[in-house]
Symmetry: C2
Subunit: 450 residues, 2 copies
């Protein structure tokens, strides 16, 4: 398909391109535009049927959006803006330079301009910054018939019509009614009799992660955003909640890998931006490894005198400790993110991890003992005696148990003291576990061998 | 609220509990039931208003569901089953022992039984296993008025009425029309004139991860599942797609931390199950660390003779290499999962990582050089000479660049040869990078110091 359109562009066969575009989804057209030359993008965009032009614009990358806005006449810009929902317009505005923002605001009608400015006031990542004002507002004394008439008249400008909100004279949210419920009731039914009154809503300053969790917990299509006086100020729809869920998972994954999260897709990030997101963490972790270095330097002479083979086991001990710790920490971090684990479960989690870690540690220690005696000793000919192998195995055992305990406790404590559990994950735990396991190993070596 | 209900249960004040339950959401009631004694669960469940009993049942843990089914009379079981959607019934069945499944099927009507058996045939994690047959089916020559009548009559049994599907005489999917579009058109409009014909659908055997990605890409409320002849066999709704998205993110996070993923929440998993999900990976990684051990043993005597301080830098080198590698790999793995990166971007990714890694490596090497000379040498009094510090810094530089290259390439190659990119993540990359960085370090040491 894509190749076909490239060829048609070469041949300037715009009629055929127009025909092909008609059957494509806006999301796919936006992807296609990414692969065109800058000069071709406005040409193809102007061939789009009016109904899907705005939808396509919304799906495009900020760079292409900026390019198009700069090519648009005022009338073209106004046509696209009129067909866009408010939350999408705000998303576009947040990525544009000041002069483009000014043009967008100039081409919006007075009501939209007022709404946009209101949404822009809310902090990034808050419910207020995600919402749109384009919801269906009903009154409790209306009948289903009256509501249908109202919806049919205004649906085109509403982000969703499937969940409608009922407010009183002071815009206070008093109920929620789904189009499904209305469809299931007679036309003369009064809304008050069929609306739900215990409406799940979020405050304007609620965190977007919390907003998304409400969607997946209560299987919502939309959620109303209310102010301190419970007046409805907007709604957030499920498609935006899904985007937030994806972003939050990406953020947590980045943090676990010691990278500052970014909203921008990897391929669109500049080399400098990626460098900046990674360098502070690597630097911090490198410097914290100083402790391990100091510990080794302290024991170096002693260990050398006891057995030169002791050094060879340090990486295995440290890696296994690090891996065991991150297994526990990552499991707990994800559990916290999904609300499956809370701080009050600390004792339960700890007791579980202690049992798991003892079982794991025994299995690993036995295999490690056998491996040193059979493979390293017999096959490779290094002089791992029974005492030496046992001492490594015992150190491994203790390391794994400590690693699991540190790994499960740290994220829970972080959560309690309102730090982000994901940032304390594997790399930090590795540093702590490395230092502890080395001290244990060196001390056991001294105790057993000297 | 919860404490209040506990107290009322003690006082056997069921009237007041009933009143309180009326205002609660099914999801919150299910959470409340988790905290009750086994004997109290059926008591409270029987106080629920009929409209929310089935919804609450669906949200409960498998253990509590089993407990309730065993307490239910046949009539009670039938009442709950009649109010449940098919996909939820299948979810329950998948967690139940054979005798309970038999009871459930016996209490389902013939049509549901046939549908349930059909869904159970599809492999776990396929679109077929997620779908429900309860969708609205329209004909292309019907008017909006006729469709509304049809929807009003059947809505109660449909999982969603907001997206309806148009089929021909042979059940082939020929169009899709949203309730919104119908609301926006006159009652006499014929469906054929307003339906979308390029319908996004998935095959019965499509992977659930792909299904979820279609939802977030195209902002869908529901997606039709079709067979090889494009006949519609069911639909999947957005609430299920959100659950899949969460599960997939959890799975990827687990794999990156070298844990076999599990569908069961952490606190509900037995100690043995957790042990089993973790031990093979730890074992494998421990054994693969043998290589690092062998390398150190090979060079031990040489390094000792050159400078005993060389050992102390090994953990820092290996940790930094591991961290640098997982920064790259995790970023690429997430990009692959979100379809932001494909295999064809390999050259772009590699070039980006090379530039980023050189910049990172220079920054880290400079700081490392300074740290060894100023802190370890001057403050702690270890004899890190300029040559020694430079050799560590250069090794670090090379290690970071290699780690980034391995870290970005491995997930892309895994994807290409149809392995799961997430399982090759940090721990495996760490093992490879550890071995490479050690060899480089030892060789540079020998070259510079002897």
């Amino acid at each position: 398909m894509e190749q076909q359109i490239f060829d048609l562009l070469e041949q300037k066969n715009y009629v055929e391109i127009k025909r092909l575009l008609q059957d494509m989804k806006p999301q796919d057209i936006a992807l296609l535009l990414e692969d065109l030359k800058d000069s071709q993008i406005p040409v193809v965009f102007r061939l789009l049927p009016k109904e899907i032009a705005a939808d396509t614009f919304v799906e495009m990358s900020p760079d292409n959006q900026k390019l198009l806005i700069n090519c648009f006449t005022d009338a073209e810009l106004k046509a696209v803006l009129d067909d866009m929902f408010l939350d999408d317009t705000v998303d576009v505005i947040e990525e544009m330079p000041a002069n483009v923002v000014k043009r967008i605001l100039n081409q919006s009608d007075a009501q939209s301009r007022q709404w946009i400015n209101e949404v822009l006031k809310y902090p990034k990542d808050s419910a207020g910054s995600l919402m749109t004002m384009e919801y269906v507002n009903l009154k409790k004394n209306w009948t289903v018939k009256q509501c249908f008439d109202r919806i049919r008249k205004t649906a085109v400008d509403k982000e969703t019509i499937y969940t409608c909100y009922v407010t009183d004279g002071t815009r206070k949210l008093i109920g929620r009614v789904s189009l499904r419920t209305m469809m299931l009731n007679a036309y003369e039914t009064v809304i008050e009799d069929i609306m739900e009154t215990n409406v799940i809503s979020v405050d304007t300053d609620a965190d977007k992660e919390f907003v998304a969790s409400q969607f997946s917990k209560y299987d919502l299509n939309a959620i109303p955003v209310v102010d301190k006086e419970n007046r409805i100020v907007g709604i957030i729809t499920v498609d935006d909640a899904m985007d937030v869920m994806e972003e939050e998972a990406t953020e947590d994954i980045s943090k676990m890998a010691a990278v500052t999260p970014s909203d921008t897709p990897y391929l669109d990030q500049s080399v400098w931006r990626i460098w900046l997101n990674r360098v502070p963490w690597l630097m911090l972790l490198m410097i914290s490894a100083t402790f391990t270095g100091l510990i080794i330097n302290t024991y170096e002479a002693t260990l050398s005198a006891l057995s030169p083979l002791l050094f060879a086991c340090i990486p295995m001990l440290m890696d296994t400790g690090g891996n065991a710790g991150s297994q526990a920490s990552v499991t707990v971090i994800r559990g916290l993110a999904l609300d499956e684990i809370e701080f009050k479960d600390l004792a339960k989690v700890l007791w579980k991890e202690i049992r798991v870690s003892v079982l794991l540690a025994i299995a690993l220690a036995v295999v490690c003992f056998g491996k040193l005696l059979l493979i390293d000793n017999l096959i490779f000919g290094y002089d791992y005696t029974v005492t030496l192998s046992a001492l490594v195995a015992v150190s491994l055992l203790i390391t794994v148990v400590i690693a699991k305990i540190v790994g499960c406790l740290l994220p829970l404590i972080a959560k309690k003291i309102k730090l982000d559990p994901a940032v304390v994950a594997s790399p930090f735990i590795t540093t702590i576990v490395d230092a502890l396991s080395l001290i244990i190993y060196c001390n056991i070596s001294v105790a057993l061998l000297s």
